[in-house]
């Protein structure tokens, strides 16, 4: 067998920098090929580096995983709860239990009274679903569309954020056959010049459906001509519904009815 190892050692003495840089790799490669003993030698040499590497990994595992989990093992568990019959015959026991129970019931009643007895609407803006309730009874549910979360930036440094406001809102007004008065962003978004405040091109009938319910601050619950977009977040902050759902919600909710948006 040709002793590549011996041969390469001779080459390694060459003054060329390139050879000096690569000689370790070449020597290693040919050592592995030439004999198993040399492989062991190489492992011994590189063992130090491997040892350091594994020690580092072990250190990380100990600090990040083992210690945080192990420290909790030192906590002694609180003795489990008792059902002591001797306590139950004490005169104060019944009094304490009764008063605590009354306090629980009173708070539960108070909490339950917060749910409106009238119809109210719940809108889930993540799944784009709506739920119409009366008390705790679900009357109707379906798809809707809510704010797209688009932040529109105009060339004259104006900004609009198309997001449906979350929280509790009340119906501020009910409109039949609404006409949409297009705001500035509706023109800017389409690359059109913004007309004057009362320009006829701002008014568009039919695009909001047959009904609209106002939530205040310009936000509406209305119909849509883009019915296939229902269930997706595509609006400018309003809540869009299909014609049938809109009609039942319009009839069910009154001015002052609550709308919960989350």
């Amino acid at each position: 067998m040709i002793d590549f190892y011996k041969h390469l050692r001779r080459i390694a003495d060459c003054p060329s920098k390139l050879y000096k840089n690569f000689r370790v790799i070449l020597l290693t490669f040919f050592t592995v090929n030439s004999s198993g003993i040399r492989l062991l030698r190489m492992l011994k040499a590189s063992g130090l580096m491997l040892g350091v590497f594994f020690a580092f990994i072990l250190l990380v595992v100990v600090i990040v995983v083992i210690v945080p989990d192990a420290r909790e093992m030192l906590v002694t568990r609180t003795p489990s709860l008792q059902n002591d019959p001797s306590l139950k015959i004490e005169p104060f026991y019944e009094r304490v239990i009764e008063s605590t129970d009354k306090a629980v019931q009173s708070r539960t009643r108070k909490y339950n009274s917060l749910t409106p007895n009238q119809q109210y609407l719940v809108v889930n803006t993540t799944a784009n679903h709506f739920f119409l309730y009366r008390g705790n009874t679900l009357i109707r549910q379906g798809f809707c569309s809510s704010g797209s979360y688009i932040q529109l930036k105009s060339n004259d440094d104006r900004e609009w954020f198309f997001k449906t406001p979350k929280g509790m809102h009340r119906i501020q007004g009910k409109i039949t056959s609404p006409v949409w008065r297009r705001p500035d962003w509706a023109f800017i978004e389409e690359g059109l010049p913004v007309p004057s405040y009362d320009h006829p091109s701002r008014y568009e009938a039919g695009v909001l459906g047959d009904y609209a319910l106002s939530l205040g601050d310009g936000y509406l619950i209305h119909g849509t001509i883009y019915k296939r977009m229902l269930g997706m977040p595509v609006t400018h902050g309003c809540i869009r519904l299909n014609d049938e759902d809109l009609e039942s919600i319009f009839k069910a909710l009154n001015v002052g009815s609550k709308v919960y948006i989350y």
């Binding site: 210690v67 945080p68 306590l87 629980v104 889930n124 932040q151």
Partner: protein, 277 residues
């Protein structure tokens, strides 16, 4: 001649004194690391035990001397069960006051609700949960008492953005307006894992139900690693300053993916949560 030039140089290198000093250096380093780990463990254990002790001390019941209560009452199952219910109801009532979206977590009946002004708007079933062992070391009454107030969210992190905001530059003309320029929100396919840190050191980890999809497993691993590394880094910084690190007990909850996304998106940055353990 060439041969004789190389052979001694390698031999010299193998038996050179720096090698020996390197060995000593490694031995010293190993000793230093071992001592540090021991110190780190002692300080971490102290942090946990101290947290439990302080918690029990802060929230335990102190009866007035004029009207002492039987101590057996505080280990009575019926009394403690009622106290827990009372605390949970009180916390939910307090949470209902401000115009905000709150989260109520009932581990006893495995439900998690989103609530707005006392109205439950969304309910999800908790598939499984795990509570830090230190919580079981707390006094039953002290824990019930602490949970009678809603927990305030101080920090949150997740694999999805809270609001999937997309910035759109206004088009110059109608032709440019027709071009699709908005990247779709891909967060609907991204696995949802989120962490809520509360002001009283509690941490809530919400993980979506596990599946065998490799992307989900990888995301979950990375998310949990990131939390562990962040906690460890914080603890190390305290330990090297000879300070007892802060301890945060953890509640880990697994819920369906769609619900995890809805809950995280709905909760405000500094929202509130009511908890029943």
């Amino acid at each position: 001649m060439e041969n004789t030039n190389i052979q001694p140089s390698i031999a010299e290198r193998q038996k050179s004194p720096p090698r020996k000093s390197l060995k000593w250096l490694f031995r010293l380093l190993f000793l230093f690391i071992a001592v540090f780990i021991l110190f780190y463990f002692i300080m971490s254990a102290m942090a946990t035990l101290r947290w439990v002790k302080n918690f029990n001390k802060e929230y335990t019941f102190e009866a007035p001397d004029s009207d002492p209560l039987d101590p057996r009452l505080f280990s009575d199952s019926a009394f403690i069960s009622l106290q827990k219910q009372l605390s949970f109801s009180q916390a939910r009532l307090d949470m209902a006051h401000p115009d905000s979206i709150g989260l109520s977590i009932n581990l006893a009946n495995s439900t998690m609700n989103l609530e707005i002004e006392g109205v439950t708007v969304h309910t999800t079933h908790i598939i499984s949960y795990r509570v830090s062992r230190s919580i079981y070391g707390l006094d039953h009454y002290a824990l019930a008492r602490m949970l009678s107030e809603p927990l305030l969210i101080s920090e949150s992190s997740a694999t999805i953005p809270k609001e999937p905001i997309m910035v759109k530059k206004a088009p110059k003309d109608t032709i440019e307006a027709t071009l699709p320029d908005i990247m779709p929100d891909t967060s609907t396919v991204v696995p949802v894992f989120f962490r809520l840190s509360f002001k009283n050191d509690f941490q809530l980890l919400v993980l979506q139900e596990e599946t065998i999809m490799s992307m989900q497993m990888r995301k979950r691993f990375v998310f949990l690693c990131r939390i562990r590394f962040a906690n460890a880094w914080k603890a190390i910084k305290d330990v090297i300053r000879f300070r007892v690190p802060t301890y945060s007990p953890e509640i880990r909850i697994i819920i369906p993916s769609s619900d995890a996304r809805i809950i995280y998106r709905a909760l405000p940055e500094n929202g509130m949560a009511a908890l029943m353990v």
